[in-house]
C-alpha cells in the first residue's frame, strides 16, 4: 500500500548573520532573562564581568513577560535601538 507522510519538514529560512564585532570594548550588551530561577543572577554576573574585565561600556538586563513567550516587542525595539550584542537565556 502507499502511505502518505504525516510530518512536515522544517522550512529553511536563511537569515542574514550580522557579523560579530571583533571585541566588546565600548559595546553595549543586552541580556534577556526568561524569568526562570537564577537566570537573572547568572546573566547579571556575566554582565558585571564583561564590564569590569572586557571593557563593555554598559549592560542591561531585560525580563521577558514569562518563559513561554518570545521577548515582547518593546524589548526587541529597545535592544535594536540601543545595544550592540545580545545574550538570551533559555532553560532552567
Amino acid at each position: 500500500m502507499e502511505l502518505l507522510d504525516p510530518t512536515v519538514e522544517q522550512p529553511q529560512q536563511a537569515i542574514d548573520f550580522a557579523p560579530r564585532p571583533g571585541a566588546l570594548a565600548g559595546k553595549r550588551v543586552a541580556l534577556i532573562e526568561n524569568t526562570k530561577y537564577n537566570s537573572d543572577k547568572i546573566l547579571e554576573r556575566i554582565g558585571n564581568i564583561l564590564k569590569a574585565e572586557h571593557g563593555v561600556a554598559s549592560f542591561k538586563i531585560f525580563r521577558k513577560h514569562n518563559s513561554g513567550v518570545p521577548a515582547h516587542k518593546e524589548i526587541i525595539d529597545e535592544v535594536k535601538a540601543g545595544f550592540d550584542v545580545v545574550v538570551a537565556g533559555v532553560g532552567d
Partner: protein, 342 residues
Amino acid sequence: MPTLSSKRHKVEDLDATEFCFQQGWTDGLPVIPPTEERVLTMLKAANLNPDDQIGYIDNRAVAVSAEKVALNAVMAGCRPEYMRVVVAAVQGICDPAWSYHGPGTSTGGAGVLLIVNGPIARQLDINAGDNLFGPGWRANATIGRAVRLVMRNVAGSRPGLLDRGTLGHPGKLSYVIAENEAESPWTPLHVERGFTKEQSTVTVLAAQGPHQFYNQLSNTAAGILTTCADDMRTSGGIGRQAEHVVIIAGEHMKTIAADGWTKADIRKFLFEHTQVSHEHLKQTNRIAGAVQPGDDKKMRALVAAPEDFLVVAAGGMAGAFSGYIPAWGSKTTSRAVTKEVK
C-alpha cells in the same frame, strides 16, 4: 479530486503498521496507516481542501494544513465525522493566547485537555459520563490523539527533543471529555464563554492530570466544595495562579444543585476557600523567600480571579467523587481557548 501534496511511501501491506513505528510517526501505540483514500475521506467529511490552512504556530514557524491534520486524524483512528472537532481543537492550540511554545516544550509536561460542548457531543457520542477520563469511547480516545499526533508530527513536539516534559502524564495520549449538558442543571461552559447553546465548541487547555477528591459524608454544596477546596488549595498552580477546571460528577452535582447553587456560586466559594498564607507557601517551598512577620496573615489566592475556575458538569452519576484539573501554567503563558466546531 483534490491533490494531496504529502510525500508518499510504498510499503508492503503487512509491514505498514511497523513502518509507521519505524518512521517515528506514532505516540507509542499502533496507528492506522494513512492512505490517500482515508485522508481524502477525512477531508471531505469536514468539507476542507488539503491546502486550507488550519492554523499557524508562530514560534515553530509551521503552517498546519488541513491535509496534515487529516493525515494525523486518520492515524489516530478517528472516524471521518470527528474531523471537524479535531480541526477546532488544532485551531485552539494554534491560537496565540494558547501560546504553543510553552505547552509544547515545557518541563511541566502539559497534556492538552479538550472539553467539548454543544450538540456535536451527543452526535459523536463523546463521553460525558462514567469513566470520564478513562478508555472506552472511540471519540474521546481518538480526537485527543489526533491533536497530539499533529503536535508531534507537524509541530515537532517529540518527547526528549522539543517536548521536555519531565514526567508528562497519561493524558498526553488523549484527554477529551464532553460536558454532561443533558443532566446538568447549570449553564454549559461554552455558553458562559460567549457561545449559544446550539453552537458546538471545543475548549482547549494546557493541563496537568486530573485530581480526584472524595466526599460521601456531605449533603450540602458547601460541604462538598470544602473538600474540593482543601484538596485543591496547594495543587500545582498556587505560585502561578493557573486556571483550574472543576469537574462536578453526578452525585455531587445533584447535591450542589439541590442547594440552589449556580456555577457562579461554586466559583465564589472556591475562590474564597483556596487562599493560602505566604507563611505556609514559603514553609512548604512553593514560593521563595524566608518567612517574614505578617506572612501568616498575608494570603495568596489559588487563581487570579473566580472566573479562572472553569466548572464543568461531567462524570458518572454514581460515585461520591468529583475532580479538578490545574492548568499547566499561568494565564500569561497559556490560557484556555474556545473554538467553534464548524
